[in-house]
Structures are given as C-alpha cells and as structure tokens.
Symmetry: C2
Subunit: 331 residues, 2 copies
C-alpha cells in the first residue's frame, strides 16, 4: 500500500536516518508547523533562490533518484554560490506520481548527502501527488553588502570560469543513450555521466570570490550565454578565447576538440561559476584558491563592445549565445 502524504513526509523527510539529519541552532522551528522560523544574524543579509526540476525537461525520465535529489539541491546551491552566499536552510516541494519507497529513499539519500556536505538543514516544504517535479528553495547568508552580482564588472576585468564546462552536456548525452558511438574508456564515460548527474555547487569558491570578484553568475544555460548575461548586466561586452577554455580530457576524448569547445561554450547544466576579476586583484584571488578544490581558468576579458564574441586566435567564431530555453527544447 502506498504511504499517505503525512506518513511520507514523516518517514522520508522529517525523520531521516540519524546519519542524514542536520540540526542547526539557528532554526528554532523547522518541519512540522505551518512554516519554519529562522534566525538571521545581525550584520548579514538573507539570500534566497527557488529553482524547479521537471521530469522530461530538466532531467530525463529514468534519472537515478539519488541524482534527482542531489541536482534539485545543487542547482539552488549554485545560485547561492554565484552570490557568494553561505547556504543555511532549504525547503523542498516534491510532486511525485506515487509514493514509491525505493524512489523516495534514493531521492532523500541524494538530497541529504549534499545537504550534510554543506551543513544545511531541511526546514519545510510539502509533498503531493503529481507529475514528477522537485522544487527546492535555498536560503543563505552573506555579510551585509558583500553579495556578488552579475552587474559589477568593468571593461578590462578578466573573465574566469571554474571547473571544466561542457562535461555535463556530454554526460547528459551518455545518460540519454546517445553516447554509444563515443570511443572512450569506461572511466571517462562514468566521469562525464557523473558530471551531469552529480554537479558540484561551487559554494567554497563563491565565498572566496566575495572579496575579489567584480561580478559572478552561475553557468546553467551554457557558458557563452551566461557570460553574455553577466556582460550585459554590467553594461559591457566580453571576448572569450576558445583556446583558453578548460576542457577535460574525457570531454575531448568523447567529442573531439571542436565539439568539446562547442559543448563547453553552449552545453548547459554545468553549474560552474563564471566571474570577473579586476587585474589588480587576480593575485589575491590566486592566493586564496589554495583552500578550494576546483580550478579556475581565465578564458577572456570584458570590453566595451556590448557584445559577447568568441575568438579562435584572431578568427571570430559564430556561437549560439541564446542559452537554454525551456520552452524551445525538450529532453
């Protein structure tokens, strides 16, 4: 017999196994009342993001439930990372066609593993029957006035990206069964698939960038599109050098260099950070990067053109910079 709504909430999300549970002293009232009550410390500002994953749109049918739980939280943590915020609490709204224990256990496992990694607590939300949809709302904190924005860059600032964009797009291809013609090793295949299924939110990097970056955005719709949005919000243009794009070995092996570059520029689902640093602050940033696992790579510079342009040495390339449009494509 499927569990009813109340039992479902209780069982999987209110009282997860001891190993899954995070308690925070700054949530005087969490799940179980009409709303959560939370303490925002003096001197900080609240940062809030709400993002939804819909089956067939943001993830293919048959996605492992652990991945779904992970990604639903990760895409929101990535938004907070792009603001330089420290995530603190989250709320979950889950619609699922049936209260299927194996699925829910997996989803909870993926969700809480990531939540615990970042020390954040589930404090509310709801569950309902419906087409598979996961909304997560993450709340974080940032010292007053220190939040990173998209709009702070100036011409001359250097453009950076974290990690190796494009991997997730290749991973999605593999996940969809379209990667069978890729002549790559099983570990490379697993690496790329993992990059789609379990993106890392760059929270620690965002925290470091608070003091040094002039602007920041998370890369969800494709690096070129998101870099373009940052440039536009800052009243600038930008020039990206494809030769400088940080491509993973697995991506190049899977797609070849040209398509790997294309995936890095237009792929989507990377959840890396794209940010700008004034030349005078690059050394300060590099010095702090020793505390962060991921690499950051300078891929270009902001300029006064008001356009995003991509160059292969001196040759300008045509690149689709429109970004992922949820009403134009289907997964």
């Amino acid at each position: 017999m499927p569990l009813g709504e109340f039992e479902l909430i209780e069982h999987y999300f209110r009282q997860p196994a001891e190993s899954m549970r995070i308690q925070r002293g700054d949530a005087p009232l969490g799940i179980g009342d009409d709303a959560a009550v939370l303490e925002v410390p003096e001197g900080t500002q609240l940062v809030a993001a709400l993002d939804t994953l819909v089956e067939g749109r943001h993830f293919p049918r048959g996605t492992p439930p652990e991945s779904l739980g992970h990604r639903a939280l990760a895409v929101n943590l990535s938004d907070l990372a792009a603001m330089g915020a420290d995530p603190a609490w989250f709320l979950l709204s889950l619609a699922t066609p049936a209260a299927e224990p194996t699925f829910l256990e997996g989803l909870a496992r993926g969700l809480f593993a990531l939540a615990n990694q970042h020390g954040i607590a589930l404090v509310g939300g709801d569950t309902t029957a419906g087409p598979l949809t996961v909304s997560v709302q993450v709340l974080g904190l940032v010292p007053r006035g220190a939040a990173l924005r998209r709009s702070g860059a100036n011409a001359g600032d250097l453009l950076f990206v974290s990690g190796t964009p494009g991997d997730a797009a290749a991973g999605l291809k593999i996940e969809l069964g379209a990667g069978n013609d890729m002549s790559i090793a099983a570990e490379q295949r697993a690496y790329l698939r993992n990059r789609f299924l379990f993106p890392e939110a760059r929270v620690a990097l965002g925290r470091i960038l608070r003091g040094v970056a002039s602007a920041c955005i998370d890369v969800s719709d494709g690096l070129a599109a998101d870099a373009g949005k940052l440039a536009t919000a800052s009243g600038c243009g930008a020039r990206i050098e494809v030769a400088q794009l940080p491509l993973s070995e697995a991506l190049c092996a899977a797609l070849g260099r040209d398509n790997a570059q294309r995936a890095a520029l237009c792929g989507g689902d990377d959840y890396e950070l794209c940010f700008t640093v004034p030349p005078s602050r690059v050394d300060a940033m590099r010095a702090q990067m020793t505390n962060v696992k991921c690499r950051v790579t300078c891929i270009g510079v902001l300029d006064a053109t008001r356009a995003l342009r991509v160059f292969d040495n001196d040759r300008e390339l045509k690149v689709d910079t429109r970004g992922y449009d949820h009403f134009a494509q289907t997964r």
Copy 2:
C-alpha cells in the same frame, strides 16, 4: 509564436504593469540575478513557507488563471498568518505546458493583486515548460520569539475558527459542475464559488493573535483534521461543538444544515485560522478584533483526552479527522 523563457519572465513577472508592481526598500536585489538579497531587521525572525499547487490535484483543470495566481500565493500567506508573521517577499516557480499570453496575464493579475494587497514583493524564482504547477515560497518576519505555533495550547484553552469554514468545499463542488442540483440563488452560488477560487489569507488576524493565542494552525485539510493536529502537537485533545460552527447562509442553503456542518468540519481548502486562546485572554482578543474584518467563533475547548471529538449537544458524532491526503484522492 510563443514567448521564450527569458521574455516570459521579463514580460509577465519582472516588469508587470505599473499598477501591479510593489517595490520594497528591504530587497536590495530582487529578480534578475542568481538569487535575491533581502534585509531582515534586527529583533525579528524569518518565517518561511513553500507550498505547491498541481493541476488536477489542488485545482481542477480549467480553473480561471486569476484564481490560480491568487490561490498559489494565498495558501502560503495563510501558512504565514498561522505563525502570526508579516509577509514580506515571495518567490514564484511556474511550470506551464505553453507560454500562453492570456493565461499568463490572468495568472500574473491574480498573483499581483493579492501581493499588492499585502504589500509584498516578488523577488525571484523561475519559469519552465512542464505540467501546470505553481510553487510559491513566501518569506515573512515576526518579532523574535513571538511566532505562533501549533504546540502551545493547554487543556481548558478555548478553540476558535475564523470565517465560515465549509464554503470552499461547496465552492469547489460548484466549480466542478457538481452543484447544479443546489437550489440556491445565483449570488449564493457566486459567493461559494468565490470562496474556493479566492480564499482570503487571514494575515491581519494572525498579527493580532501573536499576543493572545496559545496555538494556531491554518485550516487547509479540513477543520476537524487541522484542529486535531493542533491538539496533538500541544499534547491535548479537543472537543468541538457542531452547534457552534459558524456556517454561512449560502452553505446551509446549498447543502442543508447537516451537510453544511460536515463540509465545515471536513471540507478542506478553507484557509481560515484555527487557534486557541486561554479564557483569561479572550476579552483582550475581542477588543483587538475591531481592527479585523473577519469574524472569529468559539467552537469548542481543549481537554486532556488526547483525542479530537465532535459533539452535537451531548451526542458524539463520527467525523473523519484524517484530513486531505494528496495521494488518496484526485480532483
């Protein structure tokens, strides 16, 4: 040609018509970046709720878009009202099968009309293609330590409900076309339908109750079920007197007295407040009620039985107190 995602966000939600827009000085960064940045004043706590409406589950297919926009926000405001919180900001996550202008205009109209009434600002969220689903996350503020909970009631406290519960259940029946045999006037029919389509969140009442109520819950799953949850959370039982239930004339005309009482106890979708007040504070509450439009009615008392019981004079009635279960019923 349907609008793309970015145009959709811009057009309907980021830059609504002048008459729709609320600006708040305490949202230094709203829609348009990766996340919103918000100011929580010293001495207050943050209150957060996230609730989702799914087509065919929380509202029937064909629901007017104004109602959908209104209800998606109202159900969350109701959660904040039950905490005694002042709503401040909200985020919207909208999944819709197509970017259909008439529908989106209507939804935005319903949403912003209610937001403006409460002086709250839309500060973020996302839109995507998908089965029609509206998630709203409302953030509010409450003086530190003053939030109402479900768990503060004691045996002997009087049990109250706001408004006239049951109306929404009859209104849903009418909306579903199942009310054609109700021999009631057109105005009564319109009144009941309106009570389902445009519930009022009892925010002003919640604010008053902060100082006087010992416990509070919003009535979404049915008065008996929700009063039962309050009693259980408080370690008490409760006795409800059906003769004291505040029934609207329209509801009695539509269903007859017995079914009207049943609808008031078990109907769901009321979004009224159910709360307890120690006898010593009832006069103080009544004195403050002059500032609030809605009526409140004493319907019973908390006791030490640890069960919710319903009485018609001295005869105990059998009442389904399980509440609405989203996995057990379909609309």
